[in-house]
């Protein structure tokens, strides 16, 4: 029926090390469930970043029990950075070689349970900062340590690799952001997390996870839905960069005593610190990075800012990273099918209202304001001799205002929630859409403190409230600052 186990497996099975449960652990992690057949539960004590205690319980085949025993033996007493680096290959090695075919899952199972225990420990340490947001106090001094965010995709994998090759001490982290991850199951972590861990381990790097579902759910997903209810067009990547990703990476860096944080964004950090456009203009992500707080940007490295995407893929291929062939992710991560309308509709009750023209004349009915964004042309449901565009969404009266293309033209916008890297006066261009071209502008402070007015010499079409307005310097290369386009006009 099946291959025989090696003597090392039987030895661990018959005399397992470190069985049990810690009385007052600093972290608990479980993987597997009844549907899977196997269950592993690890309890850990982590003090001063050292794994001072580890105990486990396992229900599963001999391979699972032996793998848990070998893993406990490998991590007990080690520094967290060393413990989080223990890989499937390390486990295999201590079990005398590859497990019989079909039993390899045991390695993934026990590693996942241990890493979940580490995650639990870190999440407990993070407390409200990982739930409600906010910055933690940086305790680390400037050094060559870095926490690299790792999604499992090619960009983040090459980011970690480049940092490692540049001599940094790298720890990788994958964030659990929502329950719709690809390859989600009821038992183990989603495939994306397992894949990211495996990729990190193959590079010899420690891997951590943090559970940010609550934070992401509130600050990104809920606000995403809320924006549509307000008649705005949100950008969830901006919200994530503003409140979630960089803060969480910095938190982990502080915990581990590493100074830097890194992501696989295509951007550069210039003096100031300020954001600068990357070498690969086609992949430029400065537009979504404007809200990263200055004190975090000062600690941030964007290794990919110096490379073209084609080079990044080549690097991955040359180093044999399995991620090299993963497809580009384009959609909003928590709406993998790209159908954000249905996503919003599931969260809020849409109430019908009127479609009106600029003069207030009723042209038809619509099923809910959440279905509309400014600049939209399709799906308005009103026939007219010339093409109609949504020019405004008014949630309070449930009106959708439509007009002709030239009615979308604006000559100035009001921008709020500013984050400045340089003196605002340095602004010469503004970009108002992710893939839009920057247009010349002049800015001045608005009447309300913290709000700014951008004036365009030539009218601009398609500015949607809720989107970001990002200001660039005269040479167009550096981000001066950014903010959110307000619904109100100056």
């Amino acid at each position: 029926m099946s291959e025989r186990y090696r003597p090392q497996v039987i030895e661990h099975l018959v005399r397992p090390r470190g069985v049990g449960e810690l009385a007052d652990p600093s972290g608990v992690g479980e993987s597997g469930d009844a549907a899977c057949g196997d269950i592993a539960r690890f309890t850990v004590d982590v003090e001063d970043n050292a794994v001072s205690g580890v105990r486990y319980k396992v229900y599963g085949c001999a391979a699972c029990i032996a793998a848990a025993s070998a893993l406990a033996e490998l991590v007990e007493g080690r520094h967290l950075l060393a413990a989080a680096r223990v890989s499937r290959a390390d486990l295999e090695h201590s079990l005398g070689g590859p497990l019989p075919q079909g039993k390899e899952h045991a390695l993934t199972l026990v590693l996942d349970a241990l890493h979940s225990a580490f995650e639990d420990h870190l999440n407990r340490e993070g407390g409200s900062s990982l739930v409600e947001g906010g910055t933690s106090s940086a305790g680390a001094t400037h050094d060559n340590g870095v926490v690299a965010a790792m999604s499992g995709g090619v960009d983040s994998a090459v980011t970690a690799l480049l940092l490692k090759e540049a001599g940094y001490q790298v720890a990788t982290v994958t964030f659990r952001l929502h329950d719709g991850e690809r390859g989600s199951r009821s038992c183990c972590s989603p495939d994306t997390v397992l894949f990211a861990r495996d990729t990190a381990h193959r590079m010899g790097l420690p891997h951590f996870t943090l559970n940010l579902k609550e934070l992401f759910g509130q600050r990104v997903m809920r606000d995403f839905v809320g924006a549509y209810q307000e008649g705005e067009t949100p950008n969830p990547c901006v919200a994530c960069n503003a409140h979630v990703k960089f803060h969480a990476a910095a938190f982990l860096a502080d915990k581990l005593g590493l100074y830097h944080v890194a992501t696989g964004h295509y951007a550069r950090v210039a003096e100031g610190p300020s954001l600068a456009r990357p070498v690969d203009g086609d992949k430029d992500q400065t537009y979504v990075l404007w809200p990263v707080p200055k004190e975090l940007l000062a600690r941030t490295i964007f290794p990919l800012g110096e490379h073209r995407k084609t080079e990044v893929r080549k690097i991955a291929e040359k180093r044999g990273l399995a991620v090299a062939y993963t497809p580009e992710s384009q959609d909003i991560c928590f709406i993998p099918d790209g159908d954000y309308r249905s996503f919003v509709r599931k969260k809020v009750r849409a109430e019908p209202g009127d479609v009106v023209d600029l003069g207030g004349r009723v042209l038809g009915r619509h099923a809910g304001v959440v279905d509309f964004t400014v600049g939209q042309r399709r799906g308005i449901g009103v026939s007219a001799p010339t093409a109609l565009y949504v020019t405004e969404v008014r949630p309070s009266t449930r009106q959708v205002v439509v007009g002709r293309r030239r009615d979308l033209e604006v000559s100035e916008i009001l921008v709020r929630d500013m984050n400045w890297f340089l003196l605002p006066e340095a602004s010469r261009f503004v970009q108002v859409r992710y893939n839009g071209a920057p247009v010349p502008c002049e800015i001045e402070e608005g009447e309300t403190k913290g709000e700014w007015i951008a004036r365009f010499p030539e009218p601009v079409v398609g500015v949607a409230p809720g989107q970001s307005a990002v200001f660039y310097t005269a040479d167009g290369q550096r981000v001066v600052g950014g903010g959110i386009v307000s619904r109100r006009t100056p």
Binding site: S2, D38, Y59, A62, G102
Partner: protein
Amino acid sequence: MSHPVYLDNAATTPVDPRVRAAMLPHLGGRRGNPSSLHASGAAARECVEEGREQVAELVGALPEEILFTSGGTESDNLAVLGLGRAALPARRHAVVSGVEHAAVRESVRRLEREGFEVSWLEVDRFGMVDPEELADAVRPETSLAAVVWANNEVGTVEPMEELAKICAEKGVALHADAVQAAGRLSLDVGRIPISTLAISGHKLYGPQGVGALYVRGDTSLEPSLLGGGQERGLRSGTENVAGIAGLGAAARLAREELEERVRHETRLRNRILAGVAEIPGVHMNGHPEKRLSNNLHLTVDGVEAEGLVLVLDALGYEIGSGSACASGGHKASPVLLAMGRDEREAFSSVRITVGKDNTPDEIEGFLEAFSQAVARLREISPLYTPMES
């Protein structure tokens, strides 16, 4: 290290020295193809026919109703596929129990793919088929029924006499897999009107690689192996003379020693049952009385079978696992699921099967090792919390 204690006799039995003695002449000195006309051929033929008589006697059949195969699986395949493929176009319906051995189950599934309609019979929590349900399931177009005589996993003995009578009355050919039953139950096909019955050598202290199929005289079967027309044209291929000699000797010994073996096995099995009953959270599967004398099938709460089998192996005791490990991507035993057990229970089940050569001392040693192994694995298990006593 001394030999391990072998308690997996349902998987295979050791070859009896007397069986070995009957086989040895054919594995060296003697030669001859039973189909050859010369003296050597005639001697081989004689040996095959003697084996046929011995097997026929074990099951109460006529010698010409026995044909030899390569084992239980082939016998089951030949019977099920053979009966099914010989059925008239208007009678392509089968009634089959939900607790069949894979050799029968998969053959039936093959018939299904060939256009057969199949009614799968449910069983009770002991794995027992209800004769009334069988009777209800039979339709005018039913040509074939299959029920395992004694279950290979949980040891439950089915009410074969009643089932066979129903089938005979309704003109349905009944196949019985008697691989585990042979040598432990009296299988009198003269009295019990079964159409085909499968037997295996290596469950009877005979050699591996040889089996037999009883085919009632008036039954028509479509052969699977085609060639020289041996075995009444139902199973072409030169006969396994040494194997048949071994199976014949094993059948003779099984018949002669049946009562004694059953008494011995029952005593040892009951001792194990009494011993393990003292461990909390250990449950017996299968019928409490109507079960094979050598079989004890247990669910051990909170313990996965593979670990238990291997820890016992390390302690020198060999038993069988009820279901293969979930990590291996294998499925839980369909037999246990049919009996209403859940997957977790199925993965926590082991099969202990004693044999004629086991001794009471071995059993005492086993009981000690078993409770030790269970305790050790429960210490590891997150699914078992001892009840307050």
